[in-house]
Assembly symmetry: C2
Homo-oligomer: 287 residues x 2
């Protein structure tokens, strides 16, 4: 396993700056975000990572597949739009030779992150989960034909209303099973799964389905915006070593991405953030 910088950790950095930063700090891989790639230009981003000799450990992110659960024409249009956007994401992952496309599947239809519940949103959680399975049936073959692995990311249950109705590793794994493991895998992100009493068992069960191992800490208390509750490893409550050991024992030998959403870290000097990240990776993440 080898350390990778997910570029959202150093959010101020463009793709070019993140690539330079990785080289400067001796990292071999970078996790990219579609927004940043679009700003840099896809072709230019590809050129930069190749010239630097970096692996792209993941492209973030596809998903948001549940809006199709809204009734009638609105739902049908939203579903078609989501599929089209995900096909574009897969195409970008091909160009970048990304190890996987991370899929954040979306929350309850009509519910917006951080916004008050609108009229006409849906409380049908089981239905939203079915929409995800339907969308995956459309997207997995498209990804498979292009050699891209979709990585289903279970998010902490706190994000179930607005970001991901996929809430546990076990659930993500079951959703992946109908597809070949090179087409659909799962993400193990410590922030999202550290609390799960079935974690050890489901990591072992996931085995070669583990497409990405992401690490960051779970802060306590959480900040008012819970999206920013992700902290530098060692600053929160997670005991990383048993999780890392389990992921290794399951056969994962890919890159370990550090993905932190945190106002203080975004405000800090990115080079200092990367230096701290490297030190903490050695100190608290590696067994």
């Amino acid at each position: 396993m080898s350390l990778s910088l997910n570029q959202w950790t150093t959010r101020r950095w463009s793709v070019a700056e993140a690539v330079d930063g990785c080289v400067r700090h001796g990292l071999e891989a970078v996790g990219l975000w579609r927004e940043k790639v679009a700003e840099q230009g896809l072709a230019e981003s590809v050129k930069l990572v190749r010239a630097a000799g970096l692996r792209v450990s993941s492209l973030c992110r596809g998903g948001f597949l549940t809006a199709g659960g809204l009734p009638g024409e609105e739902g049908r249009a939203a579903f078609a739009k989501a599929l089209e956007d995900n096909r574009r994401a897969i195409d970008e992952a091909v160009e970048l030779e990304a190890a996987c496309l991370v899929m954040v599947v979306g929350g309850l239809p009509g519910v917006k992150p951080g916004e008050a519940l609108p009229d006409g949103f849906s409380r049908d959680l089981a239905g939203a989960r079915e929409r995800v399975a339907e969308a995956l049936a459309e997207l997995a073959p498209y990804a498979g034909e292009r050699g891209v692995k979709l990585a289903l990311e279970p998010l902490h249950p706190i994000y179930c209303p607005d970001r991901a109705v996929l809430s546990t590793l076990g659930q993500a794994l079951e959703l992946s099973l109908p597809y070949p493991e090179e087409q659909v895998g799962v993400v193990v992100d410590t922030f999202h799964v550290w609390w799960d009493p079935r974690l050890a068992e489901d990591v072992a069960r996931a085995g070669r389905r583990i497409a990405s191992y992401q690490v960051c800490d779970y802060l306590h208390p959480l900040p008012a915006d819970v999206l920013l509750g992700r902290g530098m490893m060692g600053d929160g409550v997670i005991d990383f070593r048993p999780i890392t050991r389990a992921v290794q024992a399951a056969g994962y030998s890919g890159d370990v991405e550090v993905e932190i959403f945190n106002a203080d870290i975004w405000a800090a000097d990115p080079d200092e953030v990367v230096a701290t990240m490297k030190a903490r990776y050695e100190d608290v993440v590696l067994p």
Copy 2:
């Protein structure tokens, strides 16, 4: 199933006022809190509920059993103190003829709700879960001899650091299985479990182990203090009817408690809160 007022929903009310409120609104049961019972006096509280002909649907709460995971003498003393406090809670449940004693098992050793992480707290989640099992082995026979049912409450994973390392219904159920079902049961609280992909399956598996069914909604977005993210049924994202149907199908025929922690509801006229609660129970909770 019949509606019960958990007295924390009308937090300003004493035991005497909550009992009067239940009678005034035609409710047959009340869920009491130890702090409130202590303020009223145990003997007086018993007299009040008996005179009113109310059932005590639960006593809240025992638990906080994990501090024993701190090292050395501090841990041993904390464990002994927790056991002693829980025996007193069981004794109170006997006097009140409570249907169950709700157990909130505690978070990581040394982590305090809402406070910054202190020096010397423990990240050993697996160990904390073992401490809970050990404490239960001490307390279940004590409860059983006195005819009290301990009701293990899984809390939403957001509370795993500071309030409950018991995070899913399945985990609570497995912890209960070594004991007779009249000694140890589980709580199904919609706020805590609505997101769980295994919920239907685990409710069915729990069957007669379900000792309490508590309802309140999950607000979106959550307030800054996540403890207060509980809302009146219908004000949040939960689809109650499938959960109520599953709980009924599992054989639960006890009281349905409404337990809401919410600054606006605590500030409102308690009689209006109870009236709204009754209407919403009919409108969105009952199948």
